[in-house]
């Protein structure tokens, strides 16, 4: 009865493959956008100004405390409607499903990553920041030239772990019609009635990429072992 080849041939294979590629693209694009945003959020939370710190706190906690599913529905059905007419029409004429998924995933991932980056920054002895300031660098310049290079090094393992979460989280985007792997798997299931086989294939695909990400983390750990400052 169990026959994977059925869902791995012809049209079904094409659907699953395109879903797999879309999931990878979602992950890649979100990662590229989320990293700088996460760094900015982490800096906000450590900024010298109290107002900025509270702003950072509000943003991170607000985003982190709401389920990803709600974020996706909000950006797709809610926020997109607030765009001015021509921009909205342009978006809807293109791949609004993927675009809204990237926005939601980016904010969600950045909120989590920012906390990892912040703890990385805090792991760098405060004297480094003080030394930078004493040499006449401003807050941002000290961060950029002195603290962040050390902090990001410490932060790589947790960031890779967040990337793993991101890769799996892309599957939630199916609810707003983003044609990622889970969406295509459901489509194949409906057309083939081979639910078990289809989801076995999808699971193996998720697992394979997850293991690659985990291997990257291990390799990094091996190449650059953690050192105490």
């Amino acid at each position: 009865m169990f026959d994977v080849s059925l869902v791995l041939s012809g049209q079904f294979r094409g659907w699953l493959l395109s879903g797999f590629v879309t999931s990878l693209q979602l992950t890649g694009l979100t990662l590229v956008l989320a990293l700088p945003l996460a760094t900015a959020l982490a800096l906000l939370r450590l900024a010298p100004s109290g107002v900025l710190r509270w702003l950072g706190f509000g943003l991170v906690e607000g985003v982190r405390s709401v389920p990803l599913l709600v974020h996706l529905l909000f950006w797709y059905f809610g926020a997109a409607e607030l765009l001015p007419g021509p921009a909205r029409q342009w978006l809807y004429a293109h791949d609004a499903e993927a675009a809204c998924a990237v926005v939601a995933l980016t904010l969600y991932t950045a909120a989590f990553m920012s906390e990892d980056i912040r703890s990385g920054i805090r792991a760098v002895p405060a004297t480094q920041l003080e030394a930078g300031r004493a040499l006449g660098f401003g807050f941002l310049a000290t961060m950029r030239r002195v603290v962040l290079p050390q902090a990001l090094h410490i932060t790589v393992p947790p960031l890779i772990s967040q990337t793993l979460n991101l890769w799996k989280n892309t599957s939630v985007a199916t609810v707003i019609g983003t044609a990622e792997l889970m969406y295509q798997a459901q489509k194949v299931e409906t057309a083939s009635f081979r639910g078990f086989e289809t989801f076995v294939v999808a699971t193996v695909a998720y697992l394979a990429v997850s293991l690659v990400i985990t291997a990257l983390a291990a390799a990094y750990h091996h190449r650059y072992p953690p050192r105490t400052a």
């Binding site: 059905f77 409607e81 909205r88 019609g177 459901q186 409906t190 009635f193």
Partner: protein, 279 residues
């Protein structure tokens, strides 16, 4: 040797457990009567087949009434379980519901995985379009984006009817309808009865929408029964036949679809009499 004997004994016990479980489930009708409860999977998002009454917060509708007639006939309590369109057939196959009354299309493909009762409703599938798209017939949908529900017959049917159409699917009918209203697609593919109901809900905005006249398919709807449950099917079909004979089936049709309802069907074009489908 000892270990092997033990392993053998364990597997024998496991095997006998499996067979007894299977034997206990061999007749679902007996099980339903024994537990005194008929669990029916419904959508709850598809007016007027099954939807949540805003006043009572209960799931009501044409199919709910059919299901409750079956439960009454069996002398058991009716329990409704709300399902997503895509989850209907898997939930039935895995025995988490006894019956499906979930706007389920009866077709030849699905006959290979589940059984169906007598056809309880017939509807066409159509496309509700936004007038600002300028689309007046099906063929113009090629290359355009349409929205519909995941896991139903809508997506395969529109792909067959309009090659090259771009389909985006959502979990429920109301979500897809909202996506259409927001302009995320030019058309919404669904059963005609659901579209008429959605169209009626549009109120003054109706002037901006139209239902394309051509059917993309004809959909006989039926209750879904797990494959091979002959006695349960006989009981369900028996109930439906009685409803038809007594005139109650017609009354139910007019209650939910007739001139007094939002759908305003002037007459009933089918009878509950056959469980055969053409495609």
């Amino acid at each position: 040797m000892h270990i092997r004997a033990k392993a053998l004994a364990t597997s024998l016990i496991a095997a006998s457990l499996i067979t007894t479980t299977l034997a206990a489930r061999a007749d679902q009708l007996d099980d339903i009567k024994k537990k005194g409860e008929l669990v029916v999977g419904v959508l709850g998002t598809d007016e007027p087949n099954s939807f949540i009454d805003p006043k009572t917060r209960e799931i009501v509708g044409y199919e709910v009434d059919l299901a409750s007639a079956v439960a009454k006939k069996l002398g058991v309590k009716l329990t409704l379980k709300q399902l997503a369109v895509a989850a209907r057939i898997p939930e039935l196959q895995q025995g988490r519901v006894d019956l499906l009354a979930a706007s389920l299309t009866h077709n030849k493909e699905r006959e290979q995985v589940i059984d169906f009762s007598l056809t309880s409703f017939v509807t066409g599938q159509k496309v509700l379009v936004r007038k600002d798209s300028g689309i007046t017939q099906l063929s113009q949908l090629g290359g355009k984006k349409v929205v519909t529900i995941k896991g139903g017959t809508q997506e395969p049917n529109i792909r067959k009817a309009v090659p090259g159409v771009d389909v985006v699917t959502f979990e429920t009918g109301p979500q897809a309808f909202q996506a259409l209203q927001q302009g995320k697609g030019v058309g919404f593919v669904n059963d005609e009865v659901s579209l008429i109901d959605d169209y009626a809900k549009l109120g003054p905005q109706q002037k901006d929408y139209a239902i394309l006249p051509q059917n993309i398919s004809v959909e006989p709807l039926a209750l879904g029964i797990r494959k091979g449950e002959k006695t349960l099917k006989a009981a369900v079909d028996g109930t439906l036949r009685e409803l038809e004979k007594s005139g109650d089936a017609e009354k139910l049709f007019f209650k939910w679809y007739g001139p007094g309802s939002r759908l305003k069907f002037p007459s009933r074009s089918f009878k509950i009499e056959s469980d055969k489908v053409e495609s």
